[in-house]
Structure formats: C-alpha cells, structure tokens
C-alpha cells in the first residue's frame, strides 16, 4: 500500500484534534520564566567571578621565584590597574561587548574560515606592554613571567611586544575552525595582556565561538 501525502496530512490533522485545550496560562509560565531567568543571570555572574578569580590566581601561581607571591585572600580578585575595552567582528559580523556582561557569542561551523577583527581600546594614562590573542578551550590564562605566551592559548593568532599606547588598536586575524568538532562545542577567542602598572597580568575571554547544536 502506498500512503498518499494528502491523506497523511488529513490523518495527522484529525489526530491532532484529539489534543485537549492547553491547561496552563500565561501567568503560570511568567513566574517560571522569571525564576529561570534569575537562575541564568546568577550562573553567568558566578562564572564571571570565577573567571576573574582564575585570571588573577593563575599568573600569581605561575610566577617564578623572582617575583615574590603577594598575599591575597583566596578567591578575591586582585584589583586591576585599568580595564581594556574590546570590539569583536567575525566574518564581518560585529557584536556588542557589554561593559559588565559576558563576551559576545558567534555561531560558527566546523571547518569555517574565520576573519576575526578585534579592536582594543587602551584608556588614557595606561599602557599595555604585551598582548596575546588566540584560541582556548575555555581556560583564560594570563601571560607568564616576562610576558610569555599564556599556557592555555593554542593556537596564538596575534601577538605584540610593542607597547600599546592609549587609543584604539586593531588586530585582524584569520583562522579556520577545526573540522570534526561535535555539535555545541565552545571554543574561546581569548587575550592575555600585561602592563607595568602594578605588574598586572590578565587573561580574559573576548568572544565565544560555538558550533551549532
């Protein structure tokens, strides 16, 4: 027997008519959605705190005997002398990088050729001595002693040892996403930078590269 598509459509519509009217209301859903939103916001804030703590704790742990460790209570991030602001565009698509929010996210396919443009704005009266830009699987490591390559960054896409003065500096990079990545894999475009001011060394995420689910 061959099943006609129109006949199947008719059967499906008739079967769907057996469904009763929804018993939930908008009010039921609103409360649950609000709670879930609050949970997600809490998770993001928690992750950002953890990332900040790691970004500070790792360079302190990696610093050799030449740089005496500074006593800081565990989990409390060191104060940064200044913050850099970033703009990111992947394959011509710019994304907003909120000042206190998570880095922007880009959906990319395995094997896709990416043209990445990162704009770094150094604030007035500040100077960045070393900057690395590259890919990480989720760990944001700051540069090692003497501005060495951040341990978790592989591959490195851009690197400068020429000091970055106040103002906008643009880095244009190309990279191909690895092939054969499972669905929903997240890679990070990360940066590691150092400054002489308070000998700070920072690792942070700049953008999230996610393969489709």
């Amino acid at each position: 027997m061959v099943l006609d598509e129109q006949e199947l459509r008719h059967h499906l519509a008739a079967a769907a008519d057996r469904a009763s009217a929804p018993r939930f209301t908008v009010d039921d859903l609103t409360g649950r959605i609000r709670r879930r939103r609050a949970k997600i916001t809490g998770l993001v804030a928690g992750s950002l705190l953890a990332v900040a703590a790691i970004a500070v704790a790792v360079p302190v742990a990696l610093s050799g005997p030449g740089t005496p460790p500074t006593a800081h209570p565990a989990g409390v991030p060191l104060p940064l002398p200044f913050r850099l602001s970033f703009t990111v565009a992947v394959n011509g698509q710019p994304r907003v990088f909120p000042k206190n929010g998570p880095p922007p996210s880009f959906t990319v396919t395995p094997g896709e050729y990416l043209r990445i443009r990162v704009g770094v704005t150094v604030p007035a009266h500040a100077e960045v001595t070393t900057m690395w830009l590259g890919i990480s699987r989720g760990v944001f490591t700051a540069p090692g002693p003497h501005g060495r390559r951040p341990a978790s960054m592989h591959p490195v896409l851009a690197h400068t040892r020429k000091p970055l003065t106040p103002g906008l500096h643009t880095f244009a990079m190309t990279w191909a996403m690895p092939t054969g990545l499972p669905r929903g894999t997240t890679l990070w475009l990360v940066t590691g930078w150092t400054t002489r001011q308070e000998n700070a060394s920072v690792g942070q995420g700049v953008a999230e590269l996610v393969t489709p689910r």
């Binding site: 027997m1 099943l3 199947l8 008739a14 859903l29 997600i40």
Partner: protein, 165 residues
C-alpha cells in the same frame, strides 16, 4: 510591560492551542504534550531573544519543542532499558492512554523512531519544506528524505494492516 511578556501574551491568544496540537502528535499523550509545550516556552523565553516578534518566537518554540522531544525520547529509551532491572512490573497503564491507542495513526506513529516521527510532523503537519525540517533538526536534507521515506513505508504498512483487521 517587558517585551518578552508582551510576546508571550500575544502567543497565548491563539498559538498555544496550535503548539499543543503539534506537541500531541509528537508525544501521542495529552499530559506529556502539555509538559512539552510548557518546557519549550520556558526555555525559549528564559534567554533574551534578538527578535521578540510572535511569529519568530513561535517558530523558535516549535524547534525547541522538537529537540526536547527527541532528547526526552532518548532519555526515556535509556531509562526503559534500566527500569525493569530496578523495579517490578506492577505499574498499570493510564486509562487515557488506552483510549488514545485506539487512534490508528497515533498507534502507527508510535512505531517510528523519534527522529522519523519529528520529520513526519514537521513535514506533513506543519508543512515545512525538507530544507527547513533539516535545519530545525540539525541534520542533512538527504537524511530527512531517508527518514520520511522509511516512515511513510512503515505508516502505510501499519494503516493497511489496521484496515484489513
């Protein structure tokens, strides 16, 4: 009013019933369909949407619903393999389900794999083109065609045997 609440309110006016009908075809069970629609709506609206228009939101909810159904079916099949080892078989079937199994098509749909079932519902109930079905499920168009062809053969066999009975 926040924009997502406004969109949700607009959807509730006339699209909740339509979402429930699609969920019912996926699950074949009224209670599970109810849960599926609610879960999909909550997931969709829990994150900020780029385009909180009702039509875009509805399409997004439908995709989430299908993916939740497939994930849930995978979990249920794992559990069904484990459950007999943990408990006795003293559970009785829901009488409402017994009534529903009298619907020949719903019974025939139960014979399909979750992905085949999702393809049939998206293609022939929601009238999506094959390319959009493939995109919603994250699989290749050829795979969708394969699923549809096998599903049609199985449904035809099942419906013809029901007719002869």
């Amino acid at each position: 009013m926040e924009s997502w609440k406004q969109t949700l309110a607009e959807l509730s006016r006339d699209r909740f019933a339509s979402l429930k009908r699609q969920a019912f075809l996926l699950c074949g069970n009224d209670g599970q369909a109810e849960d599926l629609v609610q879960d999909a709506l909550i997931r969709a609206f829990a994150r900020p949407m780029r385009t909180p228009r009702p039509d875009a939101a509805e399409a997004y909810v439908r995709v989430i619903m299908v993916n939740l159904f497939i994930d849930g079916a995978r979990r249920r099949s794992r559990w069904n393999r484990t459950a007999p080892l943990l408990t006795g078989t003293d559970m009785s079937a829901d009488p409402a389900d017994q009534v529903l199994t009298r619907d020949v098509l719903l019974t025939a749909l139960n014979d399909l794999s979750p992905r085949q079932r999702a393809c049939v519902v998206l293609r022939f109930f929601q009238d999506l083109p094959v390319a959009q079905v493939a995109s919603a499920l994250g699989i290749a168009e050829g795979t969708v065609k394969g699923y549809l062809s096998e599903a049609m053969t199985r449904l035809a066999a099942r419906l013809s045997s029901a007719e002869s009975e």
